[in-house]
């Protein structure tokens, strides 16, 4: 199955994607991740102002049968949360890189982004 892996994004090994614009990053989970989870029925995200720590769990995404942690690909402060996902978590399945976005974060360390995987490297890690 060929997942969508937009070339302009960066990726973590735990299947989060990140779009960087200046010192603001938008974060979500990849097409591969949503396909593995199947129907997302619940997502738990931190509040605005929360400080994320790179590599640490910042929330949870649940399918009917499973609970999966979300891991911060970068460190920074949460500036925006996609609150719509609490009513329509299925956006994460339908449009993981668009309407399924989860958080915006003000980066505290720009270098965090450098060590993330590019599209080609992420594609290789998921064996496609």
């Amino acid at each position: 199955m060929a997942s969508k892996i937009p070339a302009e994004l960066k990726y973590s090994e735990s299947h989060e994607w990140i779009r960087v614009e200046g010192d603001v990053a938008t974060i979500g989970i990849t097409d591969f991740a949503q396909h593995s989870l199947t129907d997302v029925v619940f997502v738990e995200l931190p509040k605005k102002g929360t400080k994320l720590v790179k590599g640490k769990a910042f929330g949870v995404v649940e399918s009917v049968k499973s609970v999966s942690e979300l891991f911060a690909p970068v460190s920074g402060e949460v500036t925006d949360v996609n609150d719509g996902l609490s009513k329509t978590p299925e956006k994460i399945n339908d449009d993981p890189y668009g309407a399924g976005w989860m958080l915006r974060v003000k980066l505290s360390a720009k270098d965090d982004v450098k060590v993330l995987l590019n599209a080609a490297k992420y594609k290789a890690t998921i064996g496609e």
Binding site: T38, F42, E44, V60, V64, K65, V67
Partner: protein
């Protein structure tokens, strides 16, 4: 292990999960879609991983009287009985359905992976002239469930077997072997279960899928099987019986007849007198958080019980769970909480079935 229809499921795009030592389809099109299909149209489940035993001989009824909760001598021929086999201390070994072909012949369906345990159990209590035969790997079990289930099954199964009433069964002759169609199921919807030798099972599965296209019948995996049964408050071995639970605790006293001597009877009678035992209850979440097996149930902030099964109900669109609580917290309407990742998520004890 694989069920006989494994390759067919793979062709249909099934995702597999390990269950009781078997690779089983957990979903095909998706759990939510499959759940809705069964509630509004029809679905076919392959549950051939479950177990099948024959108990035959002049003392077959005596054996069942001794080893399971319902009184087999009062069950009529052509009827199915859902009950439990218990240990001496009254705790449930397994839940099962037995089908009375006659006073000397019963077909028993215990859970997947329980065939060896139940065969030994029956053999240990049997007269020398009673034969307990494990035919689990020779039979397919296909459940066709949903408002349109019988309509589709009638296009595939001979005679009026598809009309078999609830908890009755109709014998099918498949060459020299016996099979049957029963008015049973685990979804709470109308439907039947078809128990036939493997080759026939392959044929029936394919034909039901084909003939069911016009009503929107779909193949259904174990994922939706779980959400469907949980909405109805049905127990699942490994969850509601885990750790040693009696039928009184599990809300299954209705599967016990006290008018015969069975293993576990004295323990149940003692427990009933004592009455302080935990009760299995249904809770409906008032919070968005989803309850899961193993999460603590809190009463006034203190740990009172535990969740045995939990999910997001696709029909109700809220979290639902089964769990054990002490009798003081068991009344419908009691406000409790489920501890989810360190947070107390409000819930209320709800009458079963949830829908």
């Amino acid at each position: 292990m694989r069920v006989p229809l494994h390759d067919r499921h793979a062709q249909l795009g099934a995702r597999f999960v390990e269950f009781a030592g078997f690779d089983m389809p957990v979903m095909y099109a998706g759990i939510l879609e499959e759940h809705e299909a069964v509630r509004t149209r029809a679905g076919i489940f392959d549950v051939s991983h479950m177990s099948n035993l024959w108990i035959r001989g002049p003392h077959a009824t005596d054996l069942l009287l001794k080893t399971v909760g319902t009184n087999a001598s009062r069950i009529k021929e052509g009827r199915a009985s859902y009950t439990v086999a218990m240990r001496d201390d009254g705790t449930i070994i397994d839940d099962l359905i037995y089908y009375k072909f006659g006073p000397d012949e019963y077909h028993v369906v215990p859970n997947a992976g329980m065939n060896k345990v139940l065969t030994s159990w029956f053999q240990a209590h049997a007269n020398p002239d009673t034969i307990v035969e494990d035919v689990s790997r020779e039979y397919c079990i296909l459940a066709v469930q949903g408002p349109k289930a019988r309509e589709v099954a009638a296009r595939v199964i001979p005679g009026s077997a598809a009309e078999t009433k609830k908890f009755q069964f109709t014998e099918l002759k498949v060459g020299k072997r016996k099979g049957f169609v029963s008015g049973t199921g685990y979804t709470g919807e109308d439907g039947i279960e078809i128990v036939v030798p493997n080759d026939e099972g392959q044929r029936v599965f394919g034909e039901i899928l084909e003939k069911g296209k016009s009503v929107g019948l779909q193949p259904i995996g174990l994922g939706a099987r779980d959400t469907l049964r949980l909405e109805k408050g049905y127990c699942l071995a490994g969850h509601e019986f885990a750790g040693g639970r009696t039928p009184l605790e599990a809300g299954l006293e209705w599967t016990i007849h006290y008018d015969h001597d069975f293993v576990g009877k004295t323990a149940l009678e003692n427990q009933k007198r004592d009455a302080t035992y935990d009760r299995l209850v249904g809770v409906r979440m008032e919070d968005r958080l989803i309850p899961r097996q193993g999460y603590p149930i809190l009463a006034d902030g203190a740990k009172a019980g535990v969740v045995t099964s939990g999910t997001m109900s696709p029909t109700l669109k809220s979290g639902i769970a089964l769990g054990y609580v002490p009798p003081a917290q068991a009344a419908v309407g009691t406000r409790l909480a489920v501890e989810v990742r360190g947070q107390a998520a409000a819930c209320v004890v709800t009458k079963l079935p949830f829908l």
